[in-house]
Amino acid sequence: MNSMIHVENLTKEFKSYSSRSGLKGAFRDLLTRNYKIHRAVDSISLDVKPGEMIGYIGENGAGKSTTIKMLTGILTPTSGEVLINGMNPHKEREKFVKTIGVVFGQRSQLWWDIAVQESFRLLKKVYNVSEEDYNSHMAMVIEALDIAPLLDKPVRKLSLGQRMRCELAAALIHNPPLLFLDEPTIGLDVLVKLKIREFLKELNKQYNTTVMLTTHDLSDIEALCERVVMLDEGKIIYDGSLSQLKTSWGEGKQIQFHFKTPKTRDELIRSTCQQLVVWEPGENENTWTANVTNDEDIISQVIGEVVANHQILDLKILETSTEEIIRNIYEEGIIHG
């Protein structure tokens, strides 16, 4: 088997109890409780090859973090099989975590009060990294992330962007072949985001590091990942390339017209009756959007007909963004995917 991550029928259930209503209910709760079993992750299967960068996306509460936590050995799965790097994260936790790096965007790995380089030193000891390995590897990381001027500052004095770059460096001290990033760019400005993306690409190229990334910022995924796995209510609803997702879902284009005078839907439909167009009202009566299929002939015909019949001030052609595609999938479910 040459997959980096091998997951089969992985399931995690959480037991929570629901309270009954009213005072009488509260007393009944004392005696017998109603337990509800909630499946956060529902028998997912996944294989990731070494060197792949995969984006793991889903709404809040879809089970992304729970999956990552099971893959990193933090949570014990209810059932199913996980094999990462040929190891079971729960049976050999201490040996296993030496082969992974983890960054949680919302949580700090570094010691708050001590200088960044002291944190690095401590982690170097914790991971038992030799001086030579550390120097040769971290020189590149520090250079690429541009954190050399931050090393002697205590973590609490760093800005979020500076801290995040240091967090990333800290997760790589032992040069792990597999890196988990849970919302690493949350709250960061564009420049820091770009820097982190550049760095991850570089890392992937130089060390063939496998990266699994969860994020709400789809531009991260567009910039880094060829493969996306989409999760909804604990189940994988899409696993494939990002471009495939775009072509099968983002078929349509939108043409936005700004007319000189107010228009009604009927008027517009009459003027474009030969084409398959769905008109949507815009901000005011003067703006309308035409949804058409992504076909150059149709687009130009629609524009021609509209312009011939109505006076326009402005027009824009919009492609459906990944963001919209994903939103559509969540709203409509994956019916014709």
Partner: protein, 261 residues
């Protein structure tokens, strides 16, 4: 050995942070000293009304208190994880711990240690020497060795009980007030157990064996031969309760549910 070198690294870092907040450290040591003084005054007040307590004299009780301070100082230095539930379970800090290649309990201990509590060893020894010289106790060559063994045993008893309590958080993360209560029960071990009734005595010996942190081992140095059996049991109880707590911890970690997000 790698555990030892990691320990040394953590201690080094700890010193560095502590030295940047020097005034905090002084305040902490002072409040510890004040706390110990109040306890001592309490004993003196009690003996202002009586000369003997179930056959124990004032200096003997002070000696027991002095002994108690030593294992208690070790416990407070390394195993004082009373805020484990709040800090590691509710806030989810255990996530971070679990992604590092060292035993999780060992890491928690390294992060929560408070080295200034070690000062209690000094006060404890001072109190013991004061009471001991009043009593005219002599020191044999094996006394320091047994003292070390009993102190470690006592500290492990304390650690075992508090770690076991901390593991409850793995199953239920609701806050409980059990920790402060346990501190109060722990204080019972500072007094001769024969002043309590049978049930409390049994509990302090076998269920929450705080008596092994104070009165039993101290009785050995006070030459109370009738308690020697219990005194020798101290290291055994320490190892047993500490092992039990590690066993519970290891099961508990697999039940960890993580914090939301």
């Amino acid at each position: 050995m790698s555990h030892l070198s990691i320990f040394v690294q953590y201690v080094g870092q700890y010193m560095k942070t502590r030295l940047t907040y020097r005034s905090d450290m002084v305040v902490e040591i002072m409040s510890d000293l004040l706390f110990q003084a109040v306890n001592l005054i309490f004993i003196l007040v009690v003996f202002g009304h009586t000369n003997l307590l179930s056959g124990w004299s004032k200096d003997e009780i002070i000696f027991i208190y002095g002994f108690f301070l030593v294992p208690f100082a070790l416990f407070s230095t390394f195993f004082n994880i009373w805020d484990f539930n709040e800090r590691y379970i509710v806030k989810g800090e255990l996530d971070r711990i679990l992604t590092r290649p060292i035993h999780s309990l060992f890491q928690v201990i390294l992060e929560r240690m408070e080295l200034e509590s070690m000062f209690g060893v000094v006060t404890g020894l001072a109190v013991m020497f004061y009471a001991g010289s009043n009593l005219g106790l002599t020191i044999s060559w094996y006394d320091p060795l047994l003292f070390l063994l009993f102190v470690l045993g006592g500290a492990f008893v304390y650690a075992g009980i508090f770690i076991s309590l901390a593991t409850i958080s793995f199953w239920s993360d609701s806050r409980t007030d059990i920790m402060p209560m346990m501190y109060n029960i722990g204080n019972f071990g500072r007094y001769p157990v024969d002043i309590y009734n049978q049930i409390i005595r049994y509990v302090l010996t076998w269920i929450l064996p705080f008596a092994f942190v104070g009165v039993y081992p101290a009785a050995f140095f006070l030459d109370k031969t009738e308690w020697y059996g219990y005194a020798y049991l101290t290291p055994v109880m320490g190892i047993f309760f500490f092992s039990l707590s590690i066993f519970l911890w290891n099961i508990g970690v697999t039940k960890y549910r993580g914090a939301g997000s």
